[in-house]
């Protein structure tokens, strides 16, 4: 197992099923978006972004509301991402991610289509450097 895998393994407690169920692919796609960060920071930042995207999808944000179980799993994903960012990201990036979620949820509450979640989060990663 690589150091990178070890790093994020610790962050997947209670989310194992989710990892196999698409989170892994989402994580890989964000690894492409964190190239401008220090190599040691990249896995956790990519995982944070992937957790946010998966969490919002589980909750059904902007679409049909999820049932209780996936909603709570989505909440846990957002909370885990928030903790990862608190422990490993700069204040600028933490704020950028939070603002992205605020924007997406405000759009959802207004019934507006705001565009793909990934666009918001990649933008946050770019502006948070």
């Amino acid at each position: 197992m690589t150091a990178q895998a070890l790093q994020i393994d610790r962050e997947l407690e209670r989310l194992d099923g989710l990892w196999e169920d698409g989170l892994q692919d989402t994580y890989k796609s964000y690894m492409d978006a964190v190239g401008a960060y220090e190599p040691a920071e990249r896995p956790r930042l990519a995982l944070a972004a992937a957790l946010i995207e998966s969490g919002l999808r589980l909750q059904g944000l902007g679409g049909r509301a999820a049932a209780a179980a996936p909603l709570l799993m989505g909440d846990l994903c957002l909370a885990r991402a928030s903790r990862l960012l608190a422990d490993h990201a700069s204040q600028t990036l933490q704020v950028a991610f939070a603002r992205a979620i605020e924007k997406m949820s405000a759009n959802a509450a207004s019934g507006e289509a705001g565009g793909p979640v990934r666009d918001f989060l990649v933008l946050a990663l770019e502006s948070g450097r």
């Binding site: 049909r64 509301a65 909440d75 846990l76 928030s82 933490q94």
Partner: protein, 480 residues
């Protein structure tokens, strides 16, 4: 030099009024860094003393005063037939004047680094000897003052003034600062999210978590009321965000007497509002710029979400057992209480020992608070519908204890295993009340509070201790 008056009301004939917090606040408001605060009683039956605020000791002092100058001992001052020009309402108080002679009417306390210089057990008392009355002390502060350019000081002073000058730890000014900050934040948000959140915030709530943040933000050397209020408001928004999702999950129709966001606006809106304020609160906390605080709150948020999953999973084995109950409650409720206490202390740059002691205090208080909350579900005078937790199959310690009871347990378990209509809920409520479950929960909650208070004994709190003690006891001994 700054001159002020400190007014207060007393409620007993003899009363030791702890004015330490008020003096600390006067020092803080004045910006005095190094110097002195002079106090002078403006009454001949009010003395001053510096001693320990321990209730039994205060009773010893009262007894001592009574022995040295007993009331009704035939004082010449009370022989109105021999006195001239006495007022119609002249009190019989020779004993009070004599007692005041045994105390002092004036005192000077040293101020260093913007705070009173007091030993660990020292509190400052105004001693009422002929109450109850409204009393007044003259205060003068002199020495080296800081240049007051910070916005927070000005705002805190303004809020204090509007709160009637009654500025001390955990009271009107602190509360008003949080309310102002909550309003300010909600004003900036788009209506589709702000309106439902404002409805929830304005419906009340105990605001215990923000209060804990503000109180513990006095512990360290860097107390900044505005930053503390910003953190406190963010914690309250975070708490409310979790409630919005919880209410949807629990299918609750009402909270704080008003329709839940999910019931009023639909589940899609509820999810969006919860997410918005989850993100906004974490942003506000990140913007405060204290990494320890950010991590503390993030850890708590994760614990809350994990416990919520456990809570729902446990409903299959309803009502569960004590160990499962504690695991869920530690996450769902106590984690944010503990984080509120720890983060306030971290914000003020308290020592790691102080932070950890307060974290343990918050954890125990949070569990006790939840137990008290469970008991409210069985109280007809709470103003809330009785049996709501049973109906929604919410984890509840009284139910767990009743289900374990030899007498009522089998019937409780049988009823909870079936569908729960009004008749079943009423019967379960009756059974819980008839068992000793509520007493057991009450005893356990009070024991936890005592454990929480024990944690405070390891750290230097000066004048903050009585407020934290009162808050802990009131969190458990309540009916709503």
């Amino acid at each position: 030099m700054i001159a002020r008056r400190l007014r207060f009301k007393t409620s007993s004939p003899t009363q030791f009024v702890d004015i330490t917090d008020k003096l600390r606040e006067e020092v803080r408001k004045s910006g005095l860094r190094m110097g002195r605060i002079h106090l002078q009683s403006l009454h001949t039956t009010v003395g001053l003393a510096v001693n320990e605020n321990e209730p039994l000791l205060l009773r010893d002092f009262e007894s001592l005063l009574e022995r040295l100058a007993p009331s009704g001992a035939g004082y010449e001052h009370d022989d109105f037939a021999r006195r001239f020009e006495i007022a119609l309402d002249e009190p019989v108080n020779g004993h009070a004047h004599c007692r005041q002679l045994l105390l002092t009417g004036f005192a000077t306390l040293l101020v260093e680094n913007g705070d009173l210089v007091l030993g660990r057990w020292q509190s400052v008392f105004a001693v009422e000897l002929d109450g109850p009355r409204t009393r007044e002390l003259a205060i003068q502060l002199d020495g080296d003052f800081e240049v007051r350019s910070r916005r927070s000081s000005a705002l805190a002073a303004e809020v204090g003034r509007r709160a009637g000058g009654n500025v001390h730890v955990g009271t009107a000014a602190d509360k008003e600062l949080v309310e102002l900050e909550l309003n300010r934040q909600l004003l900036a948000d788009p209506d589709p999210v702000a309106v439902p959140m404002r409805r929830l915030v304005e419906a009340g709530g105990k605001r215990l978590r923000p209060r804990l943040v503000q109180l513990t933000a006095h512990i360290g050397p860097r107390h900044d009321p505005l930053r503390a209020a910003a953190l406190a408001a963010a914690v309250e928004l975070l708490h409310n965000a979790t409630l919005i999702h919880d209410d949807y999950v629990d299918e609750s129709t009402h909270r704080r007497g008003r329709p839940t966001v999910a019931a009023a606006e639909g589940p899609e809106r509820a999810i969006a509002v919860g997410d918005f304020y989850f993100a906004k609160a974490t942003r506000l906390i990140a913007e405060i710029g204290n990494n320890d605080v950010t991590s503390t709150i993030a850890d708590a948020l994760e614990a809350i979400c994990a416990a919520q999953i456990d809570d729902v999973a446990l409903r299959g084995a309803y009502p569960g057992d004590h160990a499962s109950y504690l695991k869920v409650v530690r996450g769902k409720t106590a984690a944010l209480f503990a984080a509120s206490c720890a983060s306030g202390a971290q914000l003020s740059e308290a020592t790691p020992d102080e932070v950890e002691a307060l974290r343990r205090y918050g954890d125990l208080l949070g569990v006790a608070f939840q137990m008290a909350d469970d008991m409210v579900d069985f109280s007809p005078s709470s103003g809330k519908p009785v049996g709501l937790d049973i109906r929604q199959r919410v984890l509840s310690l009284p139910l767990i204890y009743a289900a374990e009871d030899k007498e009522v347990g089998p019937e409780v378990r049988r009823l909870l295993a079936g569908s729960l209509g009004d008749a079943e809920v009423n019967r379960v409520t009756e059974l819980v009340r008839s068992s000793d479950a509520l007493k057991r929960v009450g005893d356990e909650a009070r024991a936890l509070v005592e454990g929480a208070l024990h944690e405070l004994e390891t750290i230097e709190l000066d004048g903050l201790r009585p407020t934290l003690v009162r808050l802990a006891r009131s969190a458990v001994d309540r009916d709503s």
